[in-house]
Symmetry: C2
Subunit: 203 residues, 2 copies
């Protein structure tokens, strides 16, 4: 049934890259089409607007991010190790991406959200929902750690919020300063917030 195509996927990939490079408003539909190797008519065949494409990209991104975080925050992993592995991964990935592209990418959700939250309500909702996922991972890890007597925390949700702010702040700083090394101390900082001594190194 009908001609087949991966143009939709190419557009989604392209917009993800371009948002990190140029932001939402700095990314034109022409630029998206160019990057995706597609004519503008094809763009409008799949999406009604840049906002629509952004929503599709956010949804796909959220699903794949969940998959990746489900692995890191697997209940089979010791709870504190989950947090440590996550933090180390943030550092490693940002560093590697910077080496590849010349720029520390930062968190796409946070960067995009900060830019457009006052204007595009629909995007804002999607971004907020996706950002909220992190709190669930962090809360659960902290709760499990607390249950295992590995950490002494009165309000795990509050600690999760605190750690989330810390991590996102650090990642965004790394982007702005274009210096991934800022994230090297992230594991130690997070453990510090939990009242723990930093641990040498995890998987």
């Amino acid at each position: 049934m009908g001609r087949t195509s991966d143009a939709r996927e190419r557009l989604i990939t392209a917009v993800g890259e371009l948002f990190l490079e140029s932001g939402y408003h700095g990314t034109t539909i022409d630029a998206i089409c160019l990057r995706a190797g597609v004519r503008k008519g094809t763009f409008y065949h799949f999406f009604a607007s840049k906002e629509d494409l952004a929503v599709a990209a956010l949804e796909l991104d959220r699903a794949s991010r969940r998959e990746s975080l489900d692995a890191v925050f697997s209940p089979t992993r010791p709870p504190l190790s989950r947090l440590q592995v996550y933090c180390e991964r943030v550092y490693t990935r940002q560093r590697e991406a910077a080496a590849r592209s010349g720029h520390v990418p930062g968190c796409p959700l946070f960067t995009l959200g900060a830019e457009i939250c006052t204007q595009e309500a629909r995007l804002r909702e999607h971004i907020n929902a996706a950002l909220g996922d992190y709190l669930a991972y962090f809360s659960s890890a902290i709760r499990d750690a607390s249950a295992a007597q590995k950490v002494d925390v009165t309000d795990p949700d509050a600690k999760a919020r605190c750690i989330f702010s810390l991590i996102q702040g650090a990642i965004t700083q790394a982007r702005i300063a274009n210096d991934a090394e800022i994230l090297r101390e992230l594991p130690a900082q997070v453990f510090g917030v939990l009242g723990l001594k930093p641990v040498p190194h995890a998987a």
Copy 2:
């Protein structure tokens, strides 16, 4: 001599407002002129480009921010009180601004920096320098608190960086979620990072 004018100042004010509302690329020169009540010719009489205006606005903003923070972080104030007052002020101001405009503004430097750091190197440098000011205030307060035996910290600069990440992350989250109440727990979070119990309330 010659004709007098406050158009330059009006343009700087306008661009500051608009960057918070629409971001850097979302703010057109036409919109800036409209907000400032000025024709485009006048814009180009004072500034060569949007980037130039942004630099001027950043410089003015940095000076006034310094003035304001010098007062909050005055060495005449007990060191931990400086941090507490600052955090409470962040919450209060973001809340009030949100009540006025309908949107939590966030930190102009951080929001702008996250958007344009990959593109406008000149702006990025200015923003990084201005953001660096915060670390000086925080470090000095922590060092003074440490000297007064009010806190036990091995590396005050590292703690300052941690607190800075935490605060900026929280402010940006508040912006994205458009919920200033996120910042209510900021003083307690910061004191928690310093290994202290939260204090009731400061000036």
